[in-house]
């Protein structure tokens, strides 16, 4: 005769080990993985601080994203300690986890004992639907999505690189997107600058970009800077942003941005493109090299493609801009291995990706010094660049 529900539960609990909330409270931050197996809609009542969320209905498919090492001690909890008991047996018997316990009484008893709970800011139903494919990835989930919603990203340029980066960052739910661009939409932009449109030729790029961003995600706060960044305004513009996407089309701006971002310790996701070739790196001030560590000086005019109009495969800034957007999301959510100290070289014609190492320069004129020592006058300085460009005609 098949057991009744209560009999089955008693049988399950006799096969696993339970742990009292008092002991769990002592084990927080002690190398134990605490996993909340309730459903997403139950989390608004609060979670144990630091707990990971793996709903029991997705336990088998997602637990390894949250707890990859089967030897890690795991404590499961639910609302009252029953579902976590079933889940514990699954991890022990079916998945080979070695040390799994279920918390007695669940979050209800935890709260009755007066222990602290973390109250997650709940996503709205519309947000849960919009970002559902992010919520399904354990590496992002609700916490990562909330980080994206709280993030402020500045895009230097709404051109070839900035267009795809802005569109995808907006779609991903980055809460604030700042856009610096003093240009207007031109017909010749539309071969690659996909955030703009034929109907918007002649209007400021920041306005055109804002329209496309709001069309894909009206919740994004767009901050428009219809100006050219220079030494007098850069600190005021970039201060307060979490990450900067560098799609600048000229060396003075790249060096200026580097120096200012090092001073304010803001990471920069940098890419550049020419013809069929792209470069990408992440400059994390004081954790990795800066742009001046990579290229101490700008090249002279004959080697400086930005000094004149140059061709580019229209899809290439799409590729590189989306690699930038990917790095931005990784930095915000805190996942993966950002391209810090590495320069990726993409050859579209050869379909090859080459990687070279970039080291911090102990003699770097900027990042070898304390941020407070970098003066306003030094920001973006290097000699004779305008003369170089003038010489190139």
């Amino acid at each position: 005769m098949s057991p009744s529900g209560p009999e089955l539960l008693r049988a399950i609990k006799s096969q696993i080990e339970e742990v009292d909330p008092a002991e769990v409270h002592e084990l927080i931050d002690e190398g134990v993985a605490i996993v909340d197996v309730r459903e997403a809609e139950e989390l608004a009542s609060g979670q144990i601080p630091g707990a990971k969320h793996v709903p029991r209905s997705y336990l088998e498919t997602r637990i390894e994203g949250a707890v990859p090492d089967h030897s890690t001690p795991v404590i499961l909890y639910c609302a009252s300690g029953n579902r976590s008991a079933y889940a514990a047996r699954t991890l022990l018997e079916d998945m080979g986890y070695e040390n799994v316990r279920s918390m007695t009484g669940g979050i209800t008893l935890w709260k009755d004992r007066g222990y602290e709970v973390h109250l997650p800011r709940a996503l709205s139903p519309e947000q849960r639907e919009r970002y559902s494919r992010h919520l399904l990835i354990p590496e992002i989930g609700a916490d990562g999505q909330q980080k994206l919603l709280d993030a402020k990203v500045l895009l230097l340029g709404a051109g070839g690189l900035g267009s795809p980066a802005a569109l995808y960052l907006a779609a991903a739910g980055v809460g604030t997107l700042g856009i610096v661009d003093d240009d207007e939409v031109d017909l010749s932009n539309l071969q690659r600058q996909v955030i703009h449109s034929t109907q918007r030729i002649g209007i400021p790029k920041v306005d055109s970009a804002e329209e496309s961003i709001h069309a894909i995600n009206p919740d994004v706060n767009v901050v428009k800077y219809p100006l050219r960044i220079d030494a007098s305004n850069i600190l005021g513009i970039i201060d307060g942003y979490d990450v900067i996407v560098d799609g600048a089309d000229n060396f003075p701006t790249r060096y200026l941005l580097n120096d200012a971002s090092v001073r304010l310790k803001i990471p920069v996701v940098s890419a550049s493109i020419l013809g069929f070739d792209g470069q990408l790196s992440v400059f994390m001030p004081y954790d990795g090299p800066c742009y001046r560590c990579l290229f101490r000086e700008p090249p002279p005019a004959e080697l400086a493609p930005s000094c004149g109009a140059n061709g580019v495969l229209g899809v290439l800034p799409g590729t590189m801009g989306l690699l930038q957007a990917t790095e931005v999301i990784k930095l915000i959510v805190g996942i993966g291995e950002p391209a810090i100290g590495r320069l990726l070289l993409y050859d579209a014609l050869g379909a090859t990706l080459t990687e070279v190492k970039v080291h911090r320069d102990p003699d770097c004129p900027v990042c070898s010094r304390d941020p407070s020592e970098i003066s306003d006058e030094e920001l973006g300085s290097f000699p004779d660049y305008e003369a170089f460009c003038a010489a190139a005609g």
Partner: protein
Amino acid sequence: MATIKIPPVLRPSVGGEKILSASGASVGEVLHDLASTHPATRSQLFSAEGELNRYVNVYLNDEDVRVLGGLDTAVAPDDVLVILPAMAGGTRAPSL
């Protein structure tokens, strides 16, 4: 013969090639061999004093030769040298 990957901005100086081979037992020798075959590259790679220009990075496989032995770094026949000047673009003409 070591393999040299030529960056876009130098390709006009080497007949449009993306990959070339050059002889030499050190980075300096290989690059000078390249400059002998393609003289237009010499001033782009080397300063008047014969040093590597500051705005050009050269990698032996994936490592910056400046953290190895510079132009004296030994090169094996199956090594790959990557020449890499900075690129700024962006795709619109600058306002300078």
